[in-house]
């Protein structure tokens, strides 16, 4: 059987031959070759000018209106700082914001704080606002740290959900630099030299608040792929965290959630899939399993 298949395959790949010999190749004349080359050059030049005059300006104006993917708008949030004052990120529009995700148990985070205090002192009057988002489990160690280090900028308790809005905070510290226009210009993962922050802050302080900066130059290493990627709100705010079920009807959502309740998560949590997604939002195993289940569900129910 295998032999037969091999033969058939060979037959299919054979170059068709005729009993008669193929016609001899025609010799291209020099004039025809030149004409062809000229046509090709004209085509390339034409494409260049079409791009220069029509495509590039259209893309540029669209980018300016929506903001580039390189500098996405910082997701707004409302939090209460550890002194009890409620604030929105959008309250800081017009200022340069340094948004620092950190924790008291994180050595590399702690070592950065005195530098942030100094930057707030030095550039506060020029429009810098440092904001600390603590990823500690509770406020007590944060309050103690705040007093001990005499922090001079607001610190609020963060959450996994807030971290997800900012693309997922995998390692601490993670610091975002937000321009006066509310766009994220830099994201630094891990302890970063304070001189890097200072250089980037000075650049952003020099920009006006309405237009997106096109001159910003990232100084230090940012993230592994040098891209600032934000979370998808439809996945973050979903009843099944991490899975976008916004296209399902209310009845379909209920059916899907019950379906997930009937599947055991394999991450070792001893929960069903829905419970694991709700209890441990960061669990990559249940996220992947629930997304696979949604794909199957969409095929059969929608």
């Amino acid at each position: 059987m295998i032999e037969e298949r091999k033969e058939a395959s060979l037959e299919n790949n054979e170059i068709p031959t005729n009993a008669e010999s193929p016609p001899p190749p025609k010799k291209a004349s020099a004039a025809k070759l030149l004409a062809g080359a000229a046509l090709a050059v004209a085509f390339v030049v034409g494409i260049y000018y079409v791009n220069l005059l029509w495509i590039a300006p259209a893309v540029m104006s669209q980018t300016q209106a929506k903001g580039s993917a390189q500098h996405p708008l910082a997701p707004d949030f409302t939090l209460t700082d550890i002194s009890g004052k409620r604030f929105n990120l959008s309250d800081y529009r017009g200022k340069v914001v340094m948004l620092d995700f950190w924790a008291t148990w994180c050595g590399p985070c702690r070592i950065e704080i005195p530098g942030f205090i100094a930057l707030q002192n030095r550039y506060g009057n020029e429009g810098l606002a440092v904001i600390g988002i603590s990823m500690d489990d509770g406020p007590q160690p944060v309050v103690e740290f705040y007093k001990q280090f005499r922090m001079n900028y607001p610190v609020a308790m963060g959450s996994e959900k807030l971290g997800e809005l900012y693309g997922g905070i995998i390692g601490l510290p993670t610091t975002f630099l937000i321009g006066r226009d509310g766009r994220i210009y830099a994201k630094h993962e891990g302890a970063t030299d304070i001189a890097v922050f200072e250089d980037e802050i000075k650049q952003l302080l020099g920009e006006n608040s309405t237009a997106e900066s096109t001159n910003f130059k990232q100084v230090g290493q940012m993230v592994s792929n040098d891209k600032i990627e934000l979370g998808n709100p439809a996945e973050i705010n979903s009843e099944v965290p991490g899975v976008d079920i916004s296209k399902l009807t209310a009845a379909q959502k209920t059916t899907f959630e019950k379906h997930l309740e009937g599947i055991q998560c394999t991450c070792g949590c001893n929960y069903n899939l829905l419970k694991c997604r709700q209890v441990d939002r960061a669990c990559g195993v249940s996220r992947r399993m629930a997304r696979d289940e949604l794909a199957k569900f969409l095929k059969t129910h929608v």
Binding site: A103, T104, C106, G107, C109, G171, A191, R288
Partner: protein, 178 residues
């Protein structure tokens, strides 16, 4: 066309590798027992072998600084078995860019031991304990949130007098009290 297909295949492999990296835990752990079975009314020895990913460290059970989150082995007691003692290894003193003083940490392979008391009237059969290894990992410039590795201890209980076979001597030789 062939090159396009090969390229697509290689890209898909790369995608899978990146996806896997996203969910690969920094610490993996497994449980081994000192004997192939245990007797009722005896002490059974188990070891938890944790592997910390290269470049990362987790904190000593007794960390050098107060603010650091300790590594901890937690096993839930049952009617058949309870935890008598847990033995953690001594951490290595290491210097990191983010700390003025050296810190006591665990790196590479870490072996912890636990003595479990098997209750008097436990019948022959299987006894299972659930637990977790809690840790908080960092590398030289960043830290990951506290995390747990779920653990399951399966013990085969046999009648008193049935001979036991010793296992994993190399692992249990490594267990030393701090």
């Amino acid at each position: 066309m062939r090159y396009v297909l090969i390229g697509g295949f290689l890209l898909s492999i790369l995608g899978v590798a990146v996806g896997a990296q996203d969910s690969t835990p920094v610490v993996e752990a497994r449980v081994v027992t000192a004997t192939d079975a245990v007797h009722p009314n005896s002490v059974a020895r188990i070891a938890v072998i944790a592997q910390v990913a290269s470049g990362y460290h987790i904190n000593d059970h007794h960390p050098t600084l107060e603010y650091l989150i300790p590594t901890e082995l937690k096993l839930e007691p049952t009617k058949q078995a309870t935890v008598k003692d847990v033995v953690y290894p001594k951490g290595e003193m290491k210097r990191f860019a983010f700390s003025d003083s050296p810190l006591s940490v665990y790196q590479g392979t870490v072996v912890m031991g636990a003595d479990l008391e098997i209750a008097r009237g436990v019948p022959a059969g299987m006894v299972t304990l659930k637990g977790k290894l809690s840790y908080q990992a960092c590398n030289d410039h960043a830290c990951l949130p506290p995390a747990n590795v779920p653990l399951t201890v399966n013990l085969k209980v046999v009648r008193a007098g049935v001979p036991l076979k010793h296992m994993h001597a190399d692992v249990f030789d490594r267990i030393q009290s701090e």
